[in-house]
C-alpha cells in the first residue's frame, strides 16, 4: 500500500531499522543551473541518489533530463549549486590537493563512443597505463606496470599481444574493452558508465555487458549505469532512477520500477520502448505521450511532466507533486515517485 508524504524528493525517508553503514555514494538535493536571467537552464533540480558498495544503479531518462550533468557532478567535474554529495561519507568538493587526487582515483568513467574517447596515437598499453602517470603510487615500477597491463587486458577479455596495437586496429567492442581496462587501472570503487554499449552492435553489446557484470562480481566495483535502453538497464541494474527534466521522478529496485511503475512517465517510457516479446514490460498497453520534452529553459509549473501526462489535472499545474512512497523489501531504500496521481495507487485515495 503506498503512503503519501508531503514535501519534495529531498526529504529522503530515513531507515527505521538498525544502523546501516554509510552508502558508497549519497547525493541529496543536488541542484545545478547554467547561465542566468532568461537564459537560465536548470539541469538538475534537487536530485537524490544512493548507491551501496558493489551495487549498480541504472539512470534512465530522455535527452535533456540531466543524466549527463549528474554524471559530471558524480565525477567531480561539475560543482553543484546546492545540495550535498557524499562519497564514503566525505564531500569530494571540500577536498584539496592530495586528498582530492586520492578521491579521484576512486571514481572513474567509461565513455559512450569508443572511437572518440581513445587517443589514436597511443597503443593499448599506453592508454591503459596513462592514469598511472598522474596516480604514480597505484602501480609503482615499470615491470609491475607491464604485468598489470597484461592482467587488465585479460580481465576485459583481450590478449597479451593486443598491448602494442593501436585503436584503429581494434573493433568497436574491443575498443570499449580498452576503455574499461583503462577505467579499472586505478582500482576504482565506482565507475560511471555513460551509455557504454549504445554505440556497439547488438552481438558485441552482449559481450561488453558480460565483461561489466563479471568485473562487478570479481572486483566488487559499483556502477552508475546511464542508458536510454531499458532492457539493458533492467538486465544490469540493482536499482533504477528515472529522471525527467532535471528531477528524479521515480526510484526503486529494478523489479519494482519495471513491474509496477508508479509514475505515468515511467510507465509511458516502458510502453514506448519497442520489445521483442509483447509480454515483456508493459505488454500491449501502449501509452502514447503527447508532444515532446519541454525546453529546460522553460520548465512547466507544478509537475514538470504535466504537459505530456495522460493523467494530468488542474492540481498538477498548480502544485508541485508530493513524494509517494511505496514500501519495498528494503526499507532503507523504498520505491518512490513524484506524482499527484500515481499509478496503482488509487486505493490510497479511497
Amino acid at each position: 500500500m503506498p503512503e503519501i508524504r508531503s514535501g519534495s524528493a529531498t526529504d529522503a525517508p530515513r531507515a527505521d531499522g538498525p544502523e546501516v553503514p554509510p552508502p558508497l555514494l549519497e547525493v541529496r538535493g543536488v541542484t545545478k543551473t547554467f547561465g542566468g536571467g532568461r537564459r537560465r537552464l536548470t539541469a538538475l533540480d534537487g536530485v537524490d541518489l544512493r548507491l551501496g558498495k558493489g551495487e549498480t544503479l541504472g539512470l534512465v531518462g530522455e535527452s535533456g533530463c540531466g543524466k549527463s550533468t549528474l554524471a559530471r557532478v558524480l565525477l567531480g567535474l561539475e560543482r553543484p549549486d546546492a545540495g550535498t554529495v557524499r562519497f564514503d561519507g566525505t564531500d569530494p568538493f571540500a577536498l584539496r590537493g592530495k586528498d582530492l587526487l586520492a578521491w579521484r582515483r576512486r571514481v572513474q568513467m567509461v565513455f559512450q563512443d569508443p572511437f572518440a574517447s581513445l587517443n589514436a596515437r597511443m597503443s593499448a598499453a599506453d592508454l591503459i597505463s596513462e592514469p598511472w602517470r598522474t596516480h604514480r603510487d597505484v602501480v609503482p615500477g615499470a615491470k609491475a606496470r607491464e604485468k598489470r597491463v597484461r592482467e587488465l587486458l585479460s580481465l576485459v577479455g583481450l590478449r597479451d599481444g593486443d598491448a602494442h596495437r593501436y585503436p584503429d586496429e581494434f573493433s568497436g567492442g574491443q575498443r570499449q574493452r580498452i576503455g574499461i581496462a583503462r577505467a579499472l587501472a586505478l582500482d576504482p570503487d565506482l565507475i560511471v558508465c555513460d551509455e557504454p554499449v549504445s554505440a556497439l552492435d547488438l552481438s558485441v553489446q552482449a559481450q561488453v555487458l558480460n565483461v561489466l557484470s563479471e568485473l562487478r562480481e570479481r572486483l566488487g566495483v559499483a556502477y552508475v549505469f546511464i542508458s536510454h535502453d531499458l532492457s539493458v538497464v533492467r538486465y544490469i541494474s540493482d536499482r533504477v532512477t528515472v529522471m525527467y527534466l532535471g528531477k528524479v521522478i521515480e526510484h526503486g529496485e529494478t523489479e519494482d520500477v519495471f513491474d509496477r511503475p508508479q509514475h505515468p512517465y515511467t510507465a509511458a517510457l516502458m510502453s514506448a520502448a519497442p520489445v521483442l516479446d509483447a509480454s515483456y514490460a508493459g505488454g500491449d498497453r501502449e501509452i502514447q505521450l503527447k508532444g515532446e520534452i519541454p525546453s529546460p529553459f522553460d520548465i512547466p509549473s507544478g509537475c514538470r511532466f504535466r504537459t505530456r501526462c495522460p493523467r494530468a489535472e488542474d492540481l498538477c499545474a498548480a502544485e508541485a507533486p508530493p513524494l509517494v512512497v511505496r514500501r519495498a523489501r528494503e526499507a532503507s531504500d523504498p520505491h518512490t515517485a513524484l506524482c499527484h496521481f500515481p499509478l496503482e495507487a488509487e486505493s490510497a485515495w479511497a
Binding site: Q174, D201, S203, L230, S231, T254, P274, L276, A281, E292
Partner: protein, 337 residues
C-alpha cells in the same frame, strides 16, 4: 515540366519492389571490395519488410542502391532492382529521377543533414510537387502545408516559413517523412528512421509511419539494427551479415524458430530475455572486415556449429518451401535444437 509518365502502379499481388541478386563493389585504397553480395528480396504494397543487420553488413548500401543514391566510390556490379515492371539499374539517370518521389522514396536517419539548412521547410516539402507535377510555387506551398498538417506539425502555416534548425529532432523527422510521402510512392525506404530519437518520440514516429502506410498502401522497407523494432513493425525480415542474406522469412517465424546461427545469436544477445546476474549468451568476436570476409560461410569464425564443410563451401540461401530460407549447411540441426 508537365506531369511525368511513369508506368502504372503495381497491383496487390505483384511486388512493388523486387531486388534480385544485387551486388555492390566498393573502391578503396586497398582495392575493390564486395560490400553487397547477391542480395534478393521483394515487397508488396501495404507490407513491411525489414532489412536487419549490424553495422557494415550492407543493409544501408542495399537501400541506397535501390534509390540510386550510392556514393561515387561504390558501384552496382550486378543484379536487378525492379519497380513497375522495369529494371531501374538499366535506366538512364533522367529516367531514374522520374521515379524518385512518385515510385520510390527514402527517409534517412539524420534529418538535420537530410534537410537543406538554408531553405524554409515549406519550400522543401513543396519541391516534389513543383518538379514532378509542375505546380506553381503557391500551389506547392498549399500542398506542403497540407502535408505538414498530416504529419502533425503544429501551426503548419507559420512553421512552413521556419528553417530546419528551428525544429526539434522529432519534428524534423516528421518533415522528412512528409517530403518522402508527398507524391504517394509505391515504396518507402526508411533507413533507421528513429535511431537518433528519444524513446517516446520514437514511438510517435513509428505510429505516424504506420498510419501513413495504411492510408496510402505503401510498401515499406525498414532498414534497422533493432530486433525489437522489427518484431513490432515488420511482416517479413531479411537478416544480413557481411554483405549477404543469411536468413529470411516472416518475422514471427524467423524470430521464434531461427534457422541460421547468426539470427539465433542475435536473438539470444537481447538482454530482454536474460536473467540478471547470469551472463548473456553473446556471439563471440565481431563481424568481419569487408577485406577479410571468409571464402566459405561468412559466419564461420563466430559460429558455434562450424564444421569443416563450412570452411570449404559457402552455403547458398536455400528456400524451404514454407516462405522461409536460410544460408546454413546445418539449419535443420538448428531447427531441431
Amino acid at each position: 515540366m508537365t506531369t511525368t509518365a511513369v508506368p502504372a502502379a503495381p497491383s496487390a499481388d505483384t511486388p512493388a519492389l523486387d531486388v534480385e541478386g544485387l551486388c555492390v563493389d566498393l573502391s578503396t585504397p586497398s582495392g575493390r571490395l564486395r560490400a553487397v553480395d547477391g542480395v534478393s528480396f521483394s515487397v508488396r504494397r501495404g507490407r513491411t519488410l525489414a532489412l536487419l543487420g549490424e553495422s557494415g553488413c550492407g543493409k544501408s548500401m542495399t537501400a541506397l542502391s535501390v534509390v540510386g543514391l550510392l556514393d561515387p566510390a561504390a558501384e552496382v556490379t550486378g543484379g536487378a532492382v525492379r519497380v513497375r515492371g522495369s529494371d531501374t539499374l538499366r535506366m538512364s539517370p533522367a529516367e531514374r529521377r522520374k521515379l524518385a518521389g512518385p515510385v520510390l522514396s527514402i527517409v534517412f536517419q539524420d534529418a538535420l543533414t537530410a534537410l537543406n539548412p538554408v531553405q524554409p521547410v515549406g519550400r522543401q516539402i513543396g519541391e516534389p510537387f513543383r518538379i514532378h507535377r509542375g505546380l506553381s510555387r503557391r500551389e506547392a506551398r498549399e500542398k506542403a502545408i497540407e502535408l505538414m498538417t498530416r504529419v502533425g506539425i503544429p501551426e503548419p502555416r507559420e512553421r512552413a516559413r521556419s528553417y530546419p534548425h528551428q525544429f526539434s529532432g522529432g519534428m524534423r523527422q516528421r518533415l522528412l517523412i512528409a517530403m518522402a510521402v508527398a507524391l504517394d510512392p509505391d515504396v518507402l525506404i526508411a533507413d533507421e528512421p528513429t535511431t537518433a530519437l528519444d524513446v517516446t518520440v520514437q514511438a510517435q514516429i513509428m505510429r505516424l509511419l504506420r498510419d501513413l502506410q495504411d492510408e496510402r498502401e505503401m510498401a515499406v522497407v525498414l532498414i534497422t539494427h533493432d530486433l525489437a523494432v522489427v518484431a513490432q513493425r515488420a511482416d517479413d525480415v531479411v537478416v544480413m551479415y557481411a554483405g549477404t542474406v543469411v536468413e529470411e522469412g516472416p518475422v514471427r517465424e524467423v524470430f521464434s524458430r531461427p534457422r541460421h546461427p547468426y539470427t539465433r545469436g542475435l536473438l539470444d544477445s537481447v538482454p530482454e530475455h536474460a536473467v540478471r546476474g547470469r551472463p548473456l549468451p553473446a556471439v563471440p568476436g565481431s563481424p568481419p572486415e569487408l577485406s577479410a570476409v571468409p571464402s566459405g560461410c561468412v559466419f564461420q569464425d563466430r559460429c558455434p556449429l562450424v564444421r569443416e564443410r563450412c570452411v570449404r563451401e559457402r552455403p547458398p540461401l536455400r528456400a524451404s518451401g514454407d516462405g522461409r530460407s536460410a544460408a546454413c549447411h546445418f539449419s535443420e540441426e538448428l531447427a531441431r535444437a
